[in-house]
């Protein structure tokens, strides 16, 4: 419940912000076309938006085991990751 509410807040922040091009476009360089996954790199498509946004927040805060996503997550704002999470959640 809290998670869902949080993701709504983040989404509304994202909608209000100046749209930034290239965030989802950079994810697919490793995570496969349309975020479908590639080899050992896990898929993003169809995953729950709040789960994805929470994972990125945890990577950003170094609160989740990571090989590389902790370093990458810190390059994006919360609004950007929320918007991208919603985008991949909507793909099947």
């Amino acid at each position: 419940m809290i998670r869902a509410a949080l993701s709504l807040i983040l989404l509304s922040t994202a909608a209000a912000a100046q749209p930034v091009s290239g965030v989802a476009e950079s994810c697919v360089a490793c995570h496969g076309p349309r975020g479908a996954g590639s080899g050992s790199v896990p898929p993003l498509a169809g995953r729950d938006a709040s789960e994805l946004a929470a994972a990125m927040a945890a990577f950003r805060a170094n609160e989740r085991p990571a090989t590389i996503m902790n370093r990458i997550a810190r390059g994006y704002t919360e609004a950007e990751t929320a918007a991208v999470a919603a985008y991949f959640a909507g793909l099947r």
Binding site: S21, G22, E25, S26, S38, G39, S40, E80
Partner: protein, 423 residues
Amino acid sequence: MTFSVSRRALLGAALGAPPLARAQGAARLLVIGGGFGGATAASYARREHPWLDVTLVEQRTRYITCPYANRVLAGDLSLADITHEYDGLRARGVRVIHDRAIHHDPVARRVRLGGGEVLSYDRLILSPGIALRYDALDGYDEAAAERMPHAWIAADGAQLSLLRRQLEAMPDGGVVGVVIPANPYRCPPGPYERISLIAGYLSRHKPRSKILALDAKDAFSKQSLFQDAWRALYPGMIEWVSAANDGRVVRVDPGAMELETEFGTRHRVDVANVIPPQSAAAIATDAGLADGTGWVPVNSQTLESRTAPGVHVVGDAMFPGPMPKSGFLANSEAKAAVAAAAALLRGEAPPASVFVNTCYSHVGPDYAISVANIFRAAAGSQSFVEVPGSGGTSPRGDLPEQRRLEALYADGWYASITRDMFG
């Protein structure tokens, strides 16, 4: 073949019209160069903006990637594993012309091809890659490269095959010399990945051999991670000589197989991989887009040339500010350039973009290291800035699981980005 035909039919149907039967008067986006920047730009222009008339000019009918070429040198992969074709772009409705762009007039917005055709454009995305500066290293020219391969522009793969054959032919106990240029050059960690993977090959097949790396720099990308790996995996095999220790090579002698440094030391080697200084490719420098550095300065929001508005320059030819010349960044820049070009063609403000780099280097079996960077345009669009606190290299230490996962992720990245470019 069947697959590509049916895929083309499907895509044609999805777009509502055969790809080549578009309305006259559609905005013309020309893309020069079919590598990480250009193939990505052509593909994304058609996917995101199907109203654009997209033409890609690329000399070669097949593209061999520089990423993963070092694994071909080590014998882990074949050239076929890193060779890609342009059928997927054609299926998206890109007109692909296999010819060389030999003259560009940015004022008239026209490009002439070697075969005589003249192409007019409304916007150009120029991703021509690098040229080797044969004037910059005494004794090194195209003939010398047949004896001392650079293997730094993949082209038709001949340079990679030559260096591979030389490594195979070298007797055990031989010395492989690697000449490394000053910054900036294509793929900053590339020479050190190459050294690592050649060392892997030698340690398996010719364990008494050595690698002598002569560098025009005193420090390099992911240095401590590479040097940790060299000590752990290939002890005693690699000698890296910094510029401060007379590592800068100023002259080569392909007849004598000698590499001569700034202070006159002559190193005789059995195989020489000479990576010379570089500039933007000729089509960019000839049209006057490059500045005194040999690279093309751009507006960091739109990636347009500072001297030729309407010409977006991406990939290794671009003067990158702090951004390294990597395939990942060329792919990222291409997507930004498409977004900017499409917006400007529609009379809209170009969006802000983020530029991302994730660069893996294999150093041994199940062992890879990485660097990540996220950049944005600085205020005023004159330069790029790295997002504070973001990115960075893999952690140091005895971390076999980290190294193993990064090797797997590197393979996933390669498969993903090549499908992103050519799919």
